[in-house]
Symmetry: C2
Subunit: 303 residues, 2 copies
DNA sequence: CATTTGATAAAGGTTTTCTTTGTATCAGTA
DNA sequence: TACTGATACAAAGAAAACCTTTATCAAATG
């Protein structure tokens, strides 16, 4: 009962014949041509028979090999079907459920970098992305709550507005500078005890006394931010979510950043159990932690 | 185009299902059950799906796996055929052509030790053995000539006889002790210039003057040795070939071993080119050199 | 209840396998 | 013919996969 050895050699061999070149096989396998050559040579040595007639312009199986070729193809075609059935490609996907604002304004803009490095990893974030949503536990959950998980960073909440609105401030009441100006609120800031907004900010830093809870309510930060950029008014927003906008000048912070509130909870990352063993998630989490760390440092600089 | 990874895991998986136990698969693969478990677990981790329902009494594939099982079997059955076609089993064989006497009296008796350690390696020595002879170059050639190759040891040639014959010596001519006693010759000793026999021995050490080339001729040492043990007469024989017989007392050397001739050439080992890369030959050559070294030292002790 | 058998876990070591780097060879082209 | 680009080959060191060992645990067996 001969148990097959040199499986990887056989795989390389089969591919090399199919592709007609070591290079071709190497590309498919995602390794170097030299490695493919070594795989095949090692089998040839083991059998002490030549299997491939090599030439620059294409390969040919030797007679020895030719007799085995049909079975060889059969085998690896079958294995490919196994591969598909067992859903190997799932291991190329990452499914994330996260705080909407954070996902839209922090994660997604930065994700392009990661995907450039890892074009084969597909994402599904809050149900949308490269691949359709799946049933079952997502790979990662990222929220600003106290349910545990690894801390990414704790956000700062600061007032922002469109650049044109700065002028209006200057002309205004010298004591209560914000009095009467249009406020934008996030639904969450109103409803959620732990999500500080204008009310808390005015309470702490002054600048306005009346109607601190009045103004337009937005369902999510992305829309509110859009409005801010159109100079609709003033909002209190996670600094981490708008660092780039501030840098680019599409929005401004009318008060010193020292006048900020601190988020009740940091953003935390929770990994589906078992997920830490999957290579694509290892990569992604590593990148995520590093990128979050960058943000954390930028926030610290602005204190 | 998903290229299949974890080939060995899939192999282990397939075998485990077929055998119904990790242990069974391990035995077939020639590795430990723990290793089989690891192979399969690594795939399960990679896919983050269970594939096998383990229990002491048998394994069952999970539903996930069940769908892939047909293809999995197809694949590895096909690979087995490939294996056979490419003649993997040749790599379990060692084909030796060697000096007949050396093979029969030195190699074969010692070979049992090696085969005990390596029960899967099959031998064909001078056309006979576990497997039939093959066309083409044998893996090893071992002869006492000057055609090059690695030296095993140089034999000493000494007179031997059956234990009962010693008494006859004692009663005999005090000067020419061997005069008139029955001599056994090997055909080679007569025909081959470089194969010293009685003629050369008497010439060098005396003990007999007439008819040193007379007596019975044998085609090979094994038969002659058999006759010696039956006290048929006296022969000159390679010491290495009869060390054990001397030790056991089934034969004796009537003269001090210092009265020996030296073989014209040592035994030399020549490996078929390319053979050094085959694992079974590496093992065997290593064993052979070590064992030959032992013999060499025993010969040196007897000088 | 003791024993045996088989699965599991962790640690450590070994072997494979891969990448890197540099060279040689061939086919097509100027 | 010399040049150029693509490919195969070789060797060495690095990385990853793989295996063994040892010990533990649980079910099956006597």
């Amino acid at each position: 009962m001969p148990t097959t050895t040199h499986l990887r050699s056989l795989q390389a061999l089969e591919l090399a014949v199919r592709q007609g070149s070591l290079k071709g096989a190497a590309d498919v396998l995602g390794i170097t041509p030299a490695a493919v050559g070594q795989r095949i040579r090692s089998l040839e040595d083991y059998l002490s028979t030549d299997l491939l007639l090599r030439s620059r312009s294409g390969l040919r199986p030797t007679r020895e090999l030719e007799h085995a070729l049909t079975d060889l193809h059969t085998a690896f075609k079958a294995l490919e079907r196994v591969t598909e059935t067992l859903d190997f490609q799932r291991t190329r996907e990452i499914h994330i459920v996260a705080d909407t604002d954070w996902a839209e304004l922090w994660l997604v803009p930065k994700l392009a970098d990661f995907q450039e490095e890892n074009p084969n990893i597909l994402f599904c974030i809050n149900g949308i992305g490269d691949v359709p949503i799946r049933l079952g536990t997502p790979d990662l959950r990222i929220f600003s709550d106290d349910d545990g998980g690894e801390v990414l960073f704790r956000d700062l909440l600061v007032p922002i507005t469109g650049p044109d609105n700065l002028r209006r401030l200057a002309d205004w009441d010298p004591v209560n500078q914000m009095e009467g100006l249009p406020l934008l609120h996030l639904k969450e800031q109103i409803e959620n005890e732990n999500c500080p907004g204008w009310v808390d900010w005015f309470e702490k830093f002054g600048h306005r006394e009346s109607g601190t809870d009045r103004g337009v309510h937005y369902n999510n930060a992305r829309l509110a931010l859009k409005a801010v950029k159109l100079n609709v008014g003033f909002m209190v927003c996670g600094l981490s979510l708008v660092l780039r906008d501030l840098q680019e000048g599409t929005i401004v912070h009318p008060f010193p950043l020292s006048q900020h509130l601190t988020a009740a909870q940091p953003y935390r990352l929770r990994l589906r159990s078992g997920a830490e063993k999957q290579p694509q998630l290892q990569k992604f989490v590593e990148w995520l932690m590093a990128t979050a760390h960058e943000t954390k440092e930028k926030l610290a600089l602005n204190l």
